[in-house]
Symmetry: C2
Subunit: 253 residues, 2 copies
DNA sequence: CGCCCGCTTGAGCTGCCTCAAGGAATGTGG
DNA sequence: CCACATTCCTTGAGGCAGCTCAAGCGGGCG
């Protein structure tokens, strides 16, 4: 099996470009970074709370979740990352993790050395801003999730997560927002939206009729996207895509 | 009334130092930034969604909340900031706000020009890292809140918020974690922990007996802090204070 | 004084959780 | 190829945490 792309950071650079301007020189520097690729099975912890890392994980394939664990062992997922996402970019600034990264599906990922990122960061001011901006986007998604968790009912929360995921998948070029792969288990989704697996099942059923969801072997097709977005009260502004992008938000007078 | 300190960023620099190392030269540069001070009454929106700003708000006095608004007008608060916090540091990287900043009490705050921060950021590498690190800490609190909101009951959520707030107040030198000012309304707290004001009232009562809380004119005294922390399953690691700090976490084998 | 705002208390309703069991799909060993 | 385990989804029934609606109460302030 040959590597999926010659330059590990290709997809990540695309991601940065969806939010920031980055000069050609800076892009070259980023693409020059080399990073070993790893793979792991579902349920594997890539990083554990307290662990000190000297690389950041760039998802190449599969879905990775960031979770917090309570004393009794229960976990809650607070973010999910797909191909092209650098799921612990923050680790460059804070090497001792205060979170867990877990493979939610079988995964491949690059271990991008901090040294490489740091060098780019120092040498190219626009890279520093782009990385910072991406960190902010990540935080913005967390803030949104917190708001959604505290303010909406379970059905609306699920709808919201689906909307966000769809757009991000589209941004990553892995599908369209109305038809995309979603290789997660209902239990895993439940852990993300703060419900139980049982209730999740009922919600999915109800959304399936209301927004005309169709599921086929790990994929989701949304026939009535407008309805889904209305249920979720969804506005993609918080994803911080560039204003000229078709993915940017439109609402808010 | 004379200004509370000659250099607007004094407290902010202290804040940075609680998480990062910053050289004396860099500190001087930060302290040299000048910023106008403003004041406003409770309920005032300092920044609204969609607004474009060229300054960041540094809290001098009072409490400011970051909130997300739903289509029906309901708001949920996802973060609160006290004196010394730069509550939209992110705006340096993302000038178009995707959030609201609202004064929860009467407030004074500095409008710190982005240009000044940007200049420091460019000239001093350690400032860039420190700012990034603070952004990450902010995100870490959001992640924690999301986890707490989705995983704990209302009573536990309130306990958690109190623990976090207490430590942050202590870090800011405004009180101790077991006796601190909390000038927020029960309705405002409810908005932060995702409950209703009515239920908030009952929770406060129950915590008051369990963890021996005492309230006296806008202040809270926690007689049984250990109990409160146990209820909340609280571990301050996620606040990312320096490891040698008395505020850093200890748990997690 | 009277108004408004924040807190409290009560009573009834409901969204969601819990517990429990059964079924489909996939994998594993004999 | 079949017996069996495991994982995931589904469905039902009962219970509770927390919401809603409604009313009363105290304090600050015009």
């Amino acid at each position: 099996m040959k590597p999926p792309m010659a330059r590990p950071l290709t997809k990540f650079v695309d991601r940065l470009l969806s939010r920031s301007e980055v000069s050609t020189a800076s892009r070259k520097a980023l693409l020059a970074i080399d990073a070993p690729i790893k793979s792991c099975k579902a349920r594997w912890d890539l990083v554990r709370t307290g662990q000190r890392v000297d690389y950041a994980c760039l998802v190449a394939d599969g879905v990775i979740g960031r979770s917090e664990q309570f004393a009794d062992g229960r976990r809650r997922t607070v973010a999910i990352y797909v191909a092209g996402d650098m799921c612990d970019l923050h680790s460059v600034a804070v090497p001792a993790a205060a979170w867990n990264l877990t493979a939610l599906t079988e995964c491949r990922y690059y271990q991008v050395p901090h040294t490489g990122l740091h060098a780019c960061f120092d040498a190219h001011e626009d890279v520093a801003m782009a990385l910072w901006r991406d960190t902010v986007a990540d935080a913005s998604m967390l803030a949104k999730l917190a708001a959604v968790l505290s303010g909406l009912g379970a059905r609306e929360r699920v709808a919201h997560v689906l909307c966000e995921y769809g757009i991000r998948i589209e941004a990553a070029g892995l599908g369209s927002r109305s038809d995309f792969p979603l290789p997660l288990t209902q239990s895993q989704l439940a852990e993300l939206v703060g419900t139980t697996p049982v209730h999740m099942s009922r919600i999915v059923r109800s959304l399936a009729t209301e927004a005309a969801l169709e599921q086929h072997r790990g994929n989701i097709a949304v026939r009535d996207l407008a309805m889904l977005e209305r249920i979720a009260d969804f506005d993609p502004t918080y994803l911080l895509f560039r204003e000229n992008s078709p993915l940017a938000g439109r609402r808010r007078a």
